[in-house]
Subunit: 582 residues, 2 copies
């Protein structure tokens, strides 16, 4: 272990050498003693805090009189790919909200590009100068290991995960979604868990609604956290039985208000609670990040010191990072937030690794930064127009995927088909659109065809390579020409999202695994596309691409479509392939 | 890593197989959620807790209606040698007080017997069936690495400590007493610290009175705890700057009342506080152990749940043991205490590794248990009678070691010597006794001679091989014959303590490194000896052997004696050899 505490640090701590930066006269939110210390100086040497207290001098002094100072905030579970940005861009924005560390599970890019995808994110993380990025290794790639259900992009077995377990930046195994595998003691699943426990790292859970004996068995297997609780009683049981509970407030899930009552007024469970966003849409990054959760928690009556502990010391200890981050103490990384008050948590200054984030020497020209190598992930053979046709069989009805607004579950519907020249077509009048999923990993030409109800699509088509979890190419349209044109365009971009109406179109290139952009205009582009979908295509959903991204996930009831066809998903188990016509 | 969670455990957790033991209808003190859950069942399979909640069945059921159930208690820092008992005997007594785990620093036996001493305690710990014993590796053996000051029993360098750092039962580096070495960045000291940090283990501190810049530098070097605070402000500063504070209440130090106000009423620092006893005299083990501290803390107004957290989950997390002990949750070791109330904390039943401690299959015939091998540690060459004589030089005065009652510091005194036939003698009338320290490690015949004031010794002699930190043989007497006779007796016992008055005597054999007995009558013997010292020798000190045990420790002011002679100890630094006559 190379010693991070140098000779110079030691002399600066002793006051025998002048510090580099001094935050003077702070109202220090001390998450260690659980109090606010007034009139404290914080001395920084290089990237470390060298002294806390008084009597230090430094070349550069920031007067913090009247200001609160707390440790940099930590998002304990986020899929950075959900921001559609590179780590560079996402980190810069988060930093502006007082976030200085995230624990990310690169679940999406790993599902697409496997180990290469993981390493790509890992290398971007290493290069970024705004936040510390720690990783959990994706535990369930692919979601289902069954080629007859869908064509996945990659596979991570316990052997490969064992390699990741030993990386210093990897702090644990990511959300273990294979609950049946855990409960049945599946050898490969247990092996994955043990590989991380045996090197002293944690295993995050993913157990929506799990309770009673099953929860006990799940916890006892070595899984120590969960971020899927949506109701208070669920979270309470998980906390009582030994789980660290991550309170989630993201783009797709909003659990903060429901779970805040979990916090013990007497603070006896604070060290076992934390905040996470899980998924964060680019447009949701504008109004802040974890500091927004603090604002809402405090507004709801939570003690501000406890709220800050949940966003700093609690996650740092849980992930074994508390020698480096999560508190303001001698020897730790100088990741510090200066803010006006403990009500709005608006950021005044952010210090990251001893440097003021806004200062020039930190400025990073993201687009100049050469991205690490990532193999091309659009390996696709698009079918011919006629291959998309659905011949009609007399007397039969059409099976549809019916959207449920505001939820990711679907309903299996039955309608009278619209038949033209012996083929089943979409009928915008009845809000029935055609949907296709194309394998984009193995150029197999494999395509799944179906019909979907609920988008309100009036004309044209829209599609995306963001389609959980295998992220094949999924397109919805009113006619085969539009569908293929849209698909063509997305392939030409090397992955991304597009919407077309005849000759007019909008698109967002996501050349990084078909999930992320390397540009700085993601938010603007997303807004433009939403506008186009609403006006030109008359889509009625607020976020049609979000809804679209879950239709190919063959583990959520009631009916899904993959590149292998249409599948009924039964709550008690596996997917069953079904015909379009019944 | 051999998996401790077996197939059978899994089936028992799921309720598919009957559990082995069921604690029914408990008032569960849940240290995880920070609350008391009423009417909870705890299912145990083998040595593990398999389920918490309801709906479990078991072969053996204990009805806990109306009873409180909390995790087994943890003493976060104790030198087990101070009990003068083998781990077997000490563990059995502690278990009866609800203690199921200790973190011990075998500082004494390692100073005497080196690695062999450490391994002896380690093996005894492994064989005992009453408590889990975890170790910190002694960081400062010997106290001073200077043969001209005293003859030590052993030396542990960073290389040897590195071996210990990798033992699973070793959770950290023991109290780092070499504060100057840490602050000066001494290479060997830093190496010792890094060896433990690099394998993810903690480094305990020992920094009485350390404050300000020096404290910052000490903490930043990687030292994360301290148990030496005696006043509130000292403990508060250490907590604020990043230390885990161990509140000590032992035989030699009583800091509980002074430090209780440190506990935040809102629990925001509970996870960073714990209880320790440090040193525990055999007679002090009668009135309980950590449960006695809980009783006093609660009586002083501390929330009982918080107090229990400080004695269970807090130390378990600090030492990285929280996957095994410190809470009642599925998958953890079944170390559980059933008690009548949260006021007296009197123990009703103790479950250790899934078995009721009082039950027969746990009964261990300690004296039948074959002790691990330990080399003979009395390697001594006693001088002849005439070698102890102190020739008088005309016109000179006598230097004395003056005891300060109730403290371990001494004062350097000057008296008119009592001269008989040209030799300086003890003079009981003036409370001046002769004191000798004999090297018992290397048979060098090295002996230090001096005079001590304050014992009130009227006749005879008393001596001990318990003499911090090198534990040479130390004897105090009114005449050389008694001193040598006493020394002879202790050598014959293979180490121990004795008091003689002419032909009558009492003694306690401590054949294990001259520190511990392998018998079960330590408490009784100690009482007998105290009585003899009081009546026969008319010693006025309550515990003369305790006072005696510190007189050879050449790091505490003002004056000490070792086998190399008399030393003045200057507060600012090292010991200076001085003459008896001035």
């Amino acid at each position: 272990m190379e010693r991070k505490w140098t000779e110079r640090h030691r002399l600066q701590a002793l006051g025998r050498e002048s510090a580099d930066l001094l935050l003077k006269n702070c109202k220090l939110v001390n998450v260690l003693s659980g109090e606010i210390e007034d009139g404290i100086d914080i001395a920084i040497g290089g990237d470390r805090i060298v002294g806390v207290g008084h009597g230090y001098e430094a070349a550069h002094v920031i007067d913090c009189t009247g200001l609160y100072v707390h440790p940099g905030l930590i998002d304990a579970h986020i899929h950075l790919e959900s921001t559609k940005m590179t780590v560079f861009h996402a980190a810069k924005r988060m930093s502006q909200s007082g976030t200085t560390a995230v624990i990310t599970d690169p679940h999406e890019i790993t599902n697409v590009a496997g180990l290469a995808g993981f390493m790509f994110q890992s290398e971007c993380a290493r290069l970024n100068r705004y936040i510390d990025v720690y990783f959990t290794a994706p535990s369930c790639v692919p979601t289902l290991n069954d080629l007859s259900v869908e064509t996945p992009g990659a596979k991570l077995d316990s052997e490969t995960l064992a390699l990741l377990a030993n990386m210093p930046s990897v702090v644990g195994l990511g959300e273990m979604m294979n609950v049946p595998g855990v409960l049945d003691g599946d050898a490969e699943v247990i092996e994955k868990i043990d590989r991380f426990l045996s090197v002293g790292k944690v295993v995050d859970g993913h157990a929506p609604g799990l309770s009673g004996h099953a929860l006990n068995a799940y916890i006892a297997s070595g899984i120590s956290s969960d971020h899927e609780s949506t109701v208070l009683e669920e979270a309470r049981e998980k906390l009582r039985r030994g789980m660290y509970v991550m309170i989630r407030e993201g783009t797709s899930e909003h659990n903060l208000e429901a779970l805040l009552p979990l916090i013990d007024k007497n603070g006896r469970n604070i060290s076992r609670l934390m905040f996470v966003s899980d998924d964060l849409d680019p447009r949701d990054m504008e109004g802040g990040h974890i500091n927004r959760l603090l604002r809402r928690a405090v507004a709801a009556g939570v003690d501000p010191i406890m709220a800050i502990q949940m966003a700093t010391s609690s996650p740092a200890r849980y992930f074994g990072l508390d020698r480096e981050i999560g508190a303001i103490a001698p020897g730790m990384l100088a990741n510090i937030v200066v803010c006006q008050d403990l009500i709005d948590f608006n950021v005044h200054t952010v210090v990251f690794h001893g440097r003021v984030s806004s200062s020039r020497h930190l400025q990073q020209k993201e687009n100049d930064l050469r991205l690490p190598y990532l193999p091309m992930t659009m390996n696709i053979a698009l079918p011919a127009l006629e291959d998309l046709r659905v011949p009609y069989c007399k007397g039969m009805q059409l099976r549809t995927i019916d959207l449920v607004e505001g939820q990711i579950v679907t309903r299996a519907g039955i309608v009278d088909p619209c038949v033209v020249g012996g083929y089943v077509e979409a009928s915008p009048a009845d809000d029935v659109a055609k949907i296709c999923v194309f394998d984009r990993h193995r150029a197999s030409g494999s395509v799944g065809i179906g019909f979907v109800r609920g988008f309100g699509l009036k004309r044209g088509a829209f599609g995306s390579t963001v389609a959980h979890d295998s992220h094949n190419l999924i397109v919805v349209g009113t006619d085969d020409e539009s569908i293929l044109t849209c698909a063509d365009r997305i392939v030409a971009m090397g992955g991304g999202q597009a919407a077309i109406d005849g000759d007019s179109f909008v698109d967002m290139p996501l050349p990084i695994a078909g999930l992320m952009s390397d540009m700085d205009d993601v938010v603007e582009t997303e807004t433009t596309m939403a506008e186009f979908c609403k006006t030109a295509l008359e889509l009625k959903l607020k976020d049609p691409f979000a809804a679209l991204s879950f239709l190919a996930l063959p583990v959520i009831p009631e009916i899904r479509i993959t590149d292998r066809g249409l599948f009924r998903i039964h709550p008690d188990g596996g997917p069953e392939c079904v015909d379009i016509l019944v």
